[in-house]
Symmetry: D2
Subunit: 431 residues, 4 copies
């Protein structure tokens, strides 16, 4: 039996700070009431929020220069599920888990599903991997996968994606996220249009294999691992391809996959308007695809994205359900701690956006009152909604302070003993 934190322990930990939390919560309730807002409505909204965990995120990440492993890292998908369950237990905001194949392949997917469900977890969209060669793979992706010149390589990549769909179907997933690293490092290496034509041909084959209630998420990225011309480099290409493929194809926005200075919230607005916003890979970045913790670098940007999602929900109604997932690389922190606090940061932005006085905003926009429109957003962003988030967790059985509770529990030390490192293994997927 693996060690897990008991709900009793969480309760005991919470008990130590509950008075302070209640006092802060009451103080905030008063502040909000004076603005005409009811804190309980917001707490209920917080309780309903969820963002999926990336199975590969519970291992320590790395860069092309080095990976400095952490302690007691999960060595297989079952151990990853334990970590994900712990994160959800403490945050009550991450019931979904997104798997990556072949990293998370198991010979007994039904057992995996059962265990996950027992933990209160479900499987979010599955991810295919054609940016690496899997062990024993017949053909190499060195020169591309879905866009490769060699039809046999493309067929292999298509088959892998269809395999992911089937596996995911068994697990209860409803979506396939397709990110490829395909691209060129030299001008001339690719015929740029030819590469996209092959991509579309491959994607059509995958699209055809999608169950009727599935979505396909196309994830674009400006650069890395290709450094001159990435085939699916920007939202324009993603959008054009999703349009070509059909209604089940949507665009996925990773916050670190854009050119410098890009206004990401605008991309969110555009994709929503044209019916193609599929979902998000949340993280933060300062330079490129830095995969830093969500909200750690530019929390206002995260808030502005949720302002667009708020607007989208108003306009689109119930049907507007973009997929939310964390996608980060934890190089210098305990991945469980980073994922917990990142989930809280995304949830924070969601609640801050819910705090926006939409009527006032609309009024100022109509009157070209840029200053007051900006202030309206700022007032919501400035509000420290931490007590709301903490109270929502506590009421749902989670931790008032997930990181403190986790540290107090000694979870990682238990894992150090349970999970001795496997020689030569890189249990965490992407380094």
């Amino acid at each position: 039996m693996t060690h897990l934190i008991s709900d009793d322990f969480v309760g005991q930990q919470n008990a130590r700070s509950l008075a302070q939390l209640q006092a802060d919560y009451d103080a905030l309730a008063g502040v909000l009431q004076r603005r005409g807002r009811d804190i309980e409505t917001l707490t209920a909204q917080a309780a309903g929020f969820a963002v999926a965990l990336p199975s590969w995120g519970v291992g320590t990440g790395g860069t092309r220069f080095a990976r400095f492993p952490g302690i007691g890292e999960p060595r297989n998908v079952f151990e990853k599920i334990d970590d994900c369950a712990t994160i959800n237990q403490l945050t009550r905001a991450t019931p979904g888990v997104s798997l990556h194949f072949p990293w998370d392949r198991t010979t007994d997917p039904r057992a995996l599903k059962e265990i996950a469900n027992k933990h209160g977890l479900y499987f979010d969209s599955v991810n295919s991997n054609t940016f690496q060669n899997a062990a024993g793979q017949a053909l190499s992706y060195k020169y591309g996968s879905l866009t490769a010149q060699d039809p046999a390589v493309r067929a292999q990549a298509v088959a892998h994606n269809i395999d992911c769909v089937e596996l995911g179907n068994t697990l209860g997933s409803k979506g396939l996220t397709v990110w490829i690293g395909d691209g060129a490092n030299f001008p001339g290496q690719h015929n740029l249009r030819g590469a996209l034509e092959r991509y579309l041909e491959s994607m059509r084959a995958i699209y055809t294999a999608l169950p009727s209630d599935w979505l396909m998420y196309i994830e674009h990225k400006l650069f890395e691992p290709a450094f001159y011309a990435t085939t699916i480099a920007d939202w324009g290409t993603s959008f054009a391809c999703a349009t070509e493929l059909g209604p089940k194809a949507k665009c996925l926005v990773d916050l670190g996959h854009h050119a410098p200075n890009t206004n990401i919230e605008m991309i969110v607005a555009r994709l929503t308007q044209f019916g193609k916003l599929g979902g998000f890979h949340f993280n933060d970045s300062k330079y490129g695809d830095d995969d830093l913790d969500s909200g750690s670098i530019n929390p206002f940007q995260l808030f502005l994205i949720f302002n667009e999602l708020r607007d989208g929900a108003v306009r689109e109604g119930e049907n507007f359900k973009p997929a939310y997932m964390l996608d980060q690389s934890h190089n210098v922190t305990d991945p469980i701690e980073s994922l917990m606090s990142s989930a809280v940061e995304v949830q924070r932005a969601y609640i801050q956006a819910a705090l926006i006085d939409a009527e006032a905003l609309n009024h100022h926009q109509k009157n070209n009152d840029a200053l007051m429109a900006a202030q309206t957003l700022k007032q919501a962003f400035r509000t420290d909604v931490s007590p709301i988030l903490a109270m929502a967790r506590v009421r749902a059985g989670g931790a008032a302070d997930p990181v403190a509770c986790y540290r107090a529990s000694g979870y990682r030390d238990h894992k150090r003993e349970e999970r001795p490192p496997v020689a030569g293994a890189s249990g965490s997927g992407i380094v």
Copy 2:
């Protein structure tokens, strides 16, 4: 009568360097022959190349900090035509002129057309201007034009665009370029989607007014004059709008209007593939919309763009005719000199691209031979095609060395006398 350079003078100037040109031409012919290429074919291609001039480009440009006027600047559209005629006389590569209204408005468009035609010039696409308030304009564009909240402002902007179409029709133009500065300086100032919805509504009204043989060019730009969120900010938005509007709507690519690190040749390939490449505003830049002389900062990028245009022509055939125009701001040079050398630089990239061994390139691409594919492009780019360009000019009656001939002619000194500055006037449009 205004002073113009006589063809005799050009001939005399050419005579002084013809022997050297012929020797260089013969040397290059030999080099090309050893590669299996015939120089005369290329010279004929060069002779067939044309890039339009922006009427506003013949005045000295400026920045928001200052404008330092040049000598003898044109003070009205007729004087601009003189300068454009001179540029085309010497380069034989710029027979089209693109007008900007209301800057170039005249009470007698038929006279303007007649004069232009007499000079061998025709009118390329016309440009509307709703980023400035025109003298006597009823409503201000301070808070937007085609996207303004106020329906009356939008109606005024739409009417101006339709007026431009009518004026252009009289002049023989076949296209309308629509660039707006609309956008927000503050998060919250605009409902991002609302602004684009109003844009589309306005553009539909203009689209409806287009003659059947006209095209509408949507020009996107990342930022400036709006500094937080520009409504038509990227090619994705431009493409989505052009798709919404219909087949007469195309996307225009200005080389300086993209986020840092953007691969522009890829955008060219994408727009070509999806049938929406309208044309170009050629210039160069290092930071933003710097509007520097074409090819002055990154000539290899210009070449790579023409490589895509070459590929597009192969794939699309005769129908593939994107519009080429210079769009630059000449702050420290004589605008005539900059436009002449820029036209030559664009023509150079066109001929360098024509030199690409397409068969070898295709072969290397098919074989994943990135190094040789890159070398294939590089060999073409490295070839100094100057003698081809000069010979094409000379044979067509232009100048072997346009800048030297222009300087020798004393054209600008004549203009100094003919065109004394008008107090308070800014004859050049954009500062």
Copy 3:
């Protein structure tokens, strides 16, 4: 007599929201107390904070495309002083005014000083202008000023700077800010080193003329108005020049003058460490030198800068007094409103930084506990210190809500009548 807002009016306005403010203040006091912090200490710190106003900021700004004037804009330095006095009256955070010559030149500087002092204002550092040609100026700065090839141009620019120092001295200023637009638009236009050598020679002449208690602030900027190579383009060049010139030369950091992705707080740390941090031009930006309202785009970055200033103050003690100034372009808002709310945003970042638990931060840094170190900063940043800022204002006689009070006062409407637009004049300096 010009209209000014009466202190009585401010008091009446405050009275309407005082109860709510007190309640919010008390709620925050409780929250802080539970963290072991005393609100009154912070309120006292807020009361001691000051950021200078740019005289040119009270006029409506613009871009190279257009300027859309506002209502009742100040037409001379005396009217600008009225606006600055109003801003300080309501915010109690902007007692300094930074003048720009020749824009703010007056024949009676002593009268100007007297009037300013009567309003409780003093004159912060003065700014020279050699990026424009002043009316009646003998030689043009078209090809540079302090770096110009022509020694006579350089001499003229040096003389203007020395004149600014003398004027400033009369007004009680203690600093000269030197920003030049000098640079090249073409590779080859400048010998890059030669230009900097001439710059240093010119600056040495100005340095020599500085009074002993003055500082000289070197302001760098990546680009605009020069678009290929700006002579003083980055902090490295600024630092090297300040080092060459001597101890009275310091580096000034404008938040919008850096390359994309630059970590500005790191530059602050470096300049502090090496003794060369002179001060700031506060604003915000998303793309380039956008000159947007401080804290409007990336408030967390502003906070991180103040975290460095906090650290600098701890290390350097009393001597550490970088100059704080706003430098913004208000294109779509009432400049008075933007300056008031921007001053508050900068003050907010200062107080948020004061809230940082420095001991905990230091502890986490020592233990390589990146997550808790980041959380320590985030907790301070998340705290909504608005009640502290409002209370500090109210206690000092300012407005609880400066923008609301200003709007209620009808100040701008009075100015509309007092200040009819001057034909052809651009009272606001930079467009």
Copy 4:
């Protein structure tokens, strides 16, 4: 015995294209003569040019996502020397090899030196590695090396650097290149100034251990592997540190280590002016530290850098000897081919810069004739100096066409047999 290409084979290969080369050379000689330039002078300059090879560059590179190994990759430093010898044999431009420790550590450095010298190679500056944990290393660099909080980690990193110096001294090197990955991934993780203070302390210890005729090269880099704040992030920090350390400390410029839009040639000019230009890591990039082949993305930028080096040589004379080294990651090409063609590209830029008419350039600069100054550079850049480079190679015993000769030789196929892959080994250093 390992397979090497025989000089006879090279001669035979050259014989097949010599007539064409001679014809092209003669044609170019004529072109240059008509411009008043003697081709033989330039060919002699080309023959004198050298750029060092990175030992790690002969292995296939990779990204954090994957590494796709090549065929017959070198498995140790001796095999790397064979590959470097081959590159120099064919290009005659790469006699120096730069080693990286501990990757290239050998128990018998004297034997290594002897073998290298027999191949006509010498050892350029050595590189330390504290961005990875070496096998068996006592303490981890997970939280930094020269800047680590733990003094024992710093001491270990310092000792490793001193060890590199001693090893290098035995091998005949005269320089130590220090690049560290130290930095923070979170705001707050580091006290930014504290980290640099520790860096300087560590570097002083290394500096003290440098032999008197050695130089220390400080290599800065904006980001990666640290993604929020890199300790040595820009040339300003590098310059300040080199100044603090003393005359043996210089700055090294890697072309891919700068913020987007940075004018790198300007940094070269600044470092030269202030006496701190140490040398270069040549490569090319479009986005970040892409490590693409030199001159493959922006050849004009490479030329402009050499224009500054040309200017530096004129001003500084014999003492001006910056170190030139390639530093690239070859992910999709044969590393030997990429290194050969990259060496030629760097040499090309050097000769193109030598072609600049410096007198004319100076004249145009003095006259503020930006257009002609730019044209003067462009004329040199446009000249296809390939025949000069090929002739210099052939005359020195190298290959007219290094890549073609290499392919014809079957070198790589021999290595496939000689060097079967070692299970689990990553012979190439950085992936």
